[in-house]
Symmetry: C2
Subunit: 253 residues, 2 copies
């Protein structure tokens, strides 16, 4: 793999999808990556990485497990980096092969569906929140930002390296939900308080929509129940991640 | 007011504090500003603003209520802007005079305390969340990012224009809490589930700490109860805003 060229190429979603490769940047996310089962292909590092003790340890770990570690100059790193401050480290790794059929549906099961979430920061925070609150999977429907973009990976703080985050189309998701007897609920601003929806089903998928336009009409038509978080005088809105976090928490009781 | 010079100067926190002025950028935040009681001093706009219908309406509103509206070229706007994409509009306004004594403490009252929150995106999201969930005020303790920085204002989506967000030192906050009989609780990763803390006091202040180091030792020593949100195997952490949102929601029942 020509690491510099590959890293630059992978800035395009199409290139990530064609090669099923993605880029991880920054010290913390890279540490998480090396603790995960994801296969790495190569790493770019700058001299700055090894200056601190944490970076030094990370560099040693990279040299042990990554097939190729290339030291580059700062300007090269900048031209290859997908985010503003890669902190001297960029790793190219395989997008893990995940399928809906691999999602473990047993006991109390929660699935988060992203239906057109566009902001990478929100998408990453949603993956992180779903992982932390014990959801079995986070599934991104078409129209959602690429979960394997460097900004999403960074915002998710590496949680998608082990949490079952994946893309799937609506037909596959519907079949999966039907087959496993999982009802589909949706989060919507102004919908009835989620606290009034108890007892919650043992298995449940919760969909959250686009930051501006909410749930897509096609998904909304399939939703069995809309739930929300009451806000002050109905005037203020909650960030999509905060709303999803509150609903997933409330439904976990 | 020399608008261009002033806007550039106000990038520094010290300048904002000395002049008790701040900058609002972007269409949505400016719309919120004009709906609020906050006094404006002047606005910079580019030709791009009036191109869309929404921007055109905003420009007309600015001309009606802002003392001085100056049209500038794109490069000037860029040099004056505090955020990456000001969308053709930047307004200089007075930081509202707010005091702890003005906070309305009546009936069920929730106060959010920011104790060293450093990320502007998080601070803004916390203000927005507290406002949406009906908190009476959001108070930033020393060590917290300036609530009147353009990034925080943008992330808060204008909620702090009417929600009582303000800075105060620890001594003043303690006196305020004592005087009003408001107990101080803290949010901490790994602390007992907030759901186990019912019944919650009628009046309550909830402190959230720094993204990395959590609550400061000096505040932590004053906290009467630590609450948290249980996460999967204790491994994952929640974003500070999501955790605060869940706790404020849970304590509102």
């Amino acid at each position: 793999l020509k690491l510099l060229t590959a890293a630059r190429d992978l800035k395009r979603r199409k290139a990530r999808e064609r090669n099923t490769l993605f880029v991880v940047e920054g010290v913390r996310a890279t540490e998480e990556l090396l603790r995960s089962p994801i296969t790495t292909r190569g790493a770019l590092v700058t001299a700055a990485l090894a200056e601190g003790e944490r970076g030094h340890r990370l560099l040693e770990a990279l040299r042990r497990v990554v097939p190729e570690v290339l030291e580059v100059e700062e300007p090269e790193m900048e031209s290859a980096a997908h985010t503003d401050s890669p902190q001297g480290v960029l790793v190219i790794a395989d997008v893990p092969e995940r399928a809906l059929n691999d999602v473990v549906v047993a006991g109390r099961t929660r699935i988060l569906l992203l239906d057109g979430v566009q902001d990478p920061g929100n998408a990453g925070a949603l993956v992180r929140t779903a992982a932390a609150l014990g959801a079995a999977a986070t599934i991104a429907l078409p129209g959602t930002v690429d979960l394997w973009s460097a900004k999403v990976v960074r915002s998710a703080m590496g949680t998608q390296f082990h949490h079952a985050a994946m893309h799937a189309d609506l037909k596959a998701v519907e079949e999966f939900l039907d087959r496993n007897g999982i009802p589909l609920w949706g989060s919507e601003s102004g919908a009835p308080d989620v606290a009034a929806s108890h007892p919650a089903p043992e298995r449940l998928a919760l969909a959250v929509g686009n930051e501006g336009s909410g749930l897509s009409p096609v998904l909304r038509a399939r939703i069995q129940r809309l739930v929300g978080v009451p806000t002050r005088a109905g005037v203020e809105s909650l960030n999509v991640t905060v709303a999803a976090g509150i609903i997933l928490y409330e439904l976990s009781r």
